[in-house]
Symmetry: C2
């Protein structure tokens, strides 16, 4: 077998002597026509970048080579829950982790702050309660006097911890109540509906924590910190119209939430020079009725008007297959236009395996003038949608691990974004909801994109391009964008130098 | 939940009142632009066909509807081994089974004759031996005196059966040695290499049977019979350069094999009026060295010349990821052209999940002027290959179940042929190797294509078109093709009438 492997790689990596020149010329012409169309292919690398490129490509090809005879060895071919630890040992991953990744444009607030912080910080605060039913935490919240609930028992977490003989075990139990990670996802989550139910339950569990006004503030800050540490300099996150509560039960309105977010972002930027900022997209749910959505549209219009530097627009979210299509809300979504106003949309669309059912949301997203498309998993099956996206250059927010965990695709090499990438569609990579599945803000998703959505020979230029795309496709003002690009370039040059230095140090030793 | 389901289907199936006319017009324009590009969309149905269409679409939508809240209920979303029995209960399947399906163009002789026939017919013949090692049949063959083998024990099957107290259990054990079907394929076949090893072992096990000259003759006949009974009127099968043996150990040459095949086909056609015939494509293996392939190319050229009505050309087969790329054999494959001769090729290409490794075989297949492309699973990730295939109208032989069983894709809705179908690429549906995984000649694969590769609203026109495509993309002579199309049309009209009649009878009762 090993002789055969060597032979195959030989025939791949060397010129086969007996190929006639005319044949080789024709073949190279087709190959280069394809390569020229791929994301990142037009970038020119400096000599330092070329050196880093050689390193990362040697590591990438090594991982591929070691999986040719057993693709269950290939990290993107297996479930993230089963491959994550191996991924974190990968040299490719370690380089990607250091890389300045630009912006994360598809996120959901409430699903982006690490479970570790929720457990080790928020759940250590006084007055923090959990409601437990059959050893499962179903609700949480901060109370002076906890409510009485017939379905579950409210317990103060810190008192319970104090009673515990083994604090680490107690905290691990809290953590296990949050994380979706299991060893055998194919058994625990047999279909898309089961995993979505568990996924939405995550928000039900943590919602009471992050809706608490003081926590909300800290969670905003913590999120920015975690993203910043993972090489993300800017983010745009979807957020529901939240009305955070104080310990005495009073609540704040949306405006307070937006202002608080703005203040926290400014504070974070003052504390961290290399950060460009963060903005909000208001998000409603596709199981609401039309009049509820109309109220939200109006609220979003008002927030965009009041906070044009913070609130970007509106989106509708939910498990696409089983909730209303965008078409159901067309008259509500056309309200701003009908009133000579404007509300930018950032619609989720085509986050499904079905064809010509709710994936037709892609058509409505385009007709409703969406600024970007969230997921767009079904795009390659829609030729006219593809044409329109190219023509109008509508960015697509691809979230590889989310699509795998939420059961749209198992082997990441089959992710349809590979097709979009091969045709230089305007794609950026994001992480959707990294917290419930213990992903880093962008590193794990960038690894998947590089190793499985891009071709085996797509290289550093791909990584550089998706970072650049993320900044270019953001909704920062032109001035902010120019400054973010400049900042990114500085970071990129430091990154290239650092990788080269560490390599030189390593080879010298 | 059920209220929600109803709501969703309502919003799908009815016009939403509040959608403005101008919006609806724009939306319909995009939808119809997409629909017009889909395989079969230009066909016009007669009123009888429309009636059948309503029936099959009601059944199709019923299956989709019942799976919206649990897609592990959706047969194409689960592994064929786990969904087959449910599939056979499906009304859609039952209609497809009756349908005249035209031609099967991608098959491998040795993998197309049902295991039931091998066990209940061939393994009942005298002098039929199996070599058993640790209760597994590793080899078979017909012998006057069985060979002595240090690795396994040769036993005459009929003597062993005679000793058995329970013949059905014995025959079931034989059967289990052949079939790849298991209840838990994800455990038994954890990766592509494991399933391929088991798959190739199938041929090792049955090879000794079907290489026996009298069996070969009968197996040819039996294959035609099984395909005919499944509504297939013509087939083209790959076949190795076989040298069948007689009981006394003497062997025949390739010419004998081709002549025998031709005679059997003629005999079968005399016995069965509604059958158009069968032809051969010689197939070598991509683990041979160049000089072996050159010998085969020459042999194939000679067979095409001697038997232009039977032998169509040449192909190279194997597990694509781990064997030589076509490029390795370019000079051998250019031999006919270099000698002012012609050998039509029918290359397997792009039967892989990897990208820009052996899937580049697609480029070589095109440069070597392939008549059709086998599988082409990787085509949508190759934009220039897509363009050239469209331009040259190169038919693609899609084998859905094979790709699932051999672990390229798990949920059939993610099969990339869906993209080709949405853009009216010249596709036909075949079954590759139905016997080892207990598929019918075409019915199961047609079901998968209709329910998962085609869109939820692709209808009878899709089925009709893929049947027509299969005849049009065959390599029958023009005259044979015209007569096959006429025959198919007669069968199609009978089918339409029969489905209508059975429905009327059913509703009257």
């Amino acid at each position: 077998m090993h002789v055969l492997i060597s032979l195959i790689w030989l025939t791949l990596l060397t010129n086969i002597q007996s190929v006639p020149a005319w044949y080789k010329a024709q073949r190279d012409a087709i190959l280069s026509t394809e390569r020229r169309q791929s994301v990142g292919s037009t970038l020119k690398l400096t000599s330092d970048e070329e050196a880093v490129n050689k390193m990362i490509m040697a590591a990438k090809q090594g991982e591929i080579k070691s999986a040719i005879y057993d693709d269950s060895n290939y990290i993107p071919a297996v479930h993230f829950f089963q491959g994550r630890k191996r991924m974190e040992q990968s040299k490719v991953f370690k380089i990607i982790q250091q890389m300045p990744k630009g912006a994360a444009l598809h996120l959901h607030y409430g699903f982006i702050t690490s479970n570790a912080w929720l457990v080790k910080n928020v759940m250590y605060r006084p007055n923090c309660y959990m409601c437990v039913k059959e050893k499962v935490i179903t609700l949480t919240g901060f109370y002076l006097t906890p409510p009485v609930d017939k379905d579950c028992t409210w317990i103060e977490i810190s008192s319970e911890r104090a009673k515990s003989t083994d604090i680490e075990t107690f905290d691990q139990w809290l953590y296990n109540n949050l994380t979706l990670t299991v060893d055998n996802p194919e058994v625990v989550y047999p279909n898309i509906n089961v995993i979505w139910r568990r996924f939405l339950q995550y928000f039900q569990t943590v919602g009471g924590l992050i809706n608490h006004a003081p926590v909300l503030k800290d969670a905003f800050y913590e999120s920015l910190k975690e993203f910043h540490e993972d090489g993300v300099q800017y983010l745009e996150t979807r957020i529901g119209l939240m009305t955070p509560y104080e310990l005495n039960g009073t609540t704040h309105d949306y405006t307070w939430t937006v202002k608080t977010f703005r203040d926290v972002v400014n504070e974070f930027k003052q504390d961290h020079q290399g950060f460009s900022g963060a903005k909000l997209i208001i998000g409603g749910r596709k199981r609401y009725n039309g009049s509820a959505i109309l109220q939200e549209v109006k609220a979003a219009m008002s927030l965009v008007e009041q906070f044009p530097d913070v609130v970007l627009g509106y989106d509708l979210m939910d498990q696409e297959d089983v909730t209303h299509p965008l078409l159901y809300y067309v008259s509500e979504l056309l309200y701003p236009e009908a009133h000579k106003s404007n509300l930018p949309y950032f619609f989720h669309a085509g986050e499904t395996d079905w064809l010509h059912i709710h994936d037709n949301n892609l058509i409505d997203a385009i007709l409703l003038n969406t600024t970007r498309i969230g997921h767009g998993f079904a795009i390659p099956k829609h030729p006219e949608v593809m044409r329109l996206i190219k023509e109008r250059n509508i960015p697509i927010e691809v979230n590889p691990i989310s699509n795998q965990v939420l059961k749209l695709v198992s082997d990441m090499r089959n992710h349809p974004a590979a097709i979009l990438i091969s045709q230089d569609f305007p794609v950026c990579i994001s992480s959707d909801n990294p917290a419930p599945w213990e992903a880093l803000p962008l590193s794990h998703d960038f690894y998947m994109a590089f190793m499985a959505l891009a071709a085996s020979d797509d290289d550093l230029r791909f990584l550089k391009q998706i970072a650049l795309n993320s900044i270019n496709f953001s909704r920062m003002t032109n001035k902010e964008k120019a400054s973010a690009l400049q900042l990114w370039e500085t970071k990129w040059n430091v990154f290239i130098k650092r990788v080269l230095d560490s390599h030189n140090t390593f080879t010298e030793v």
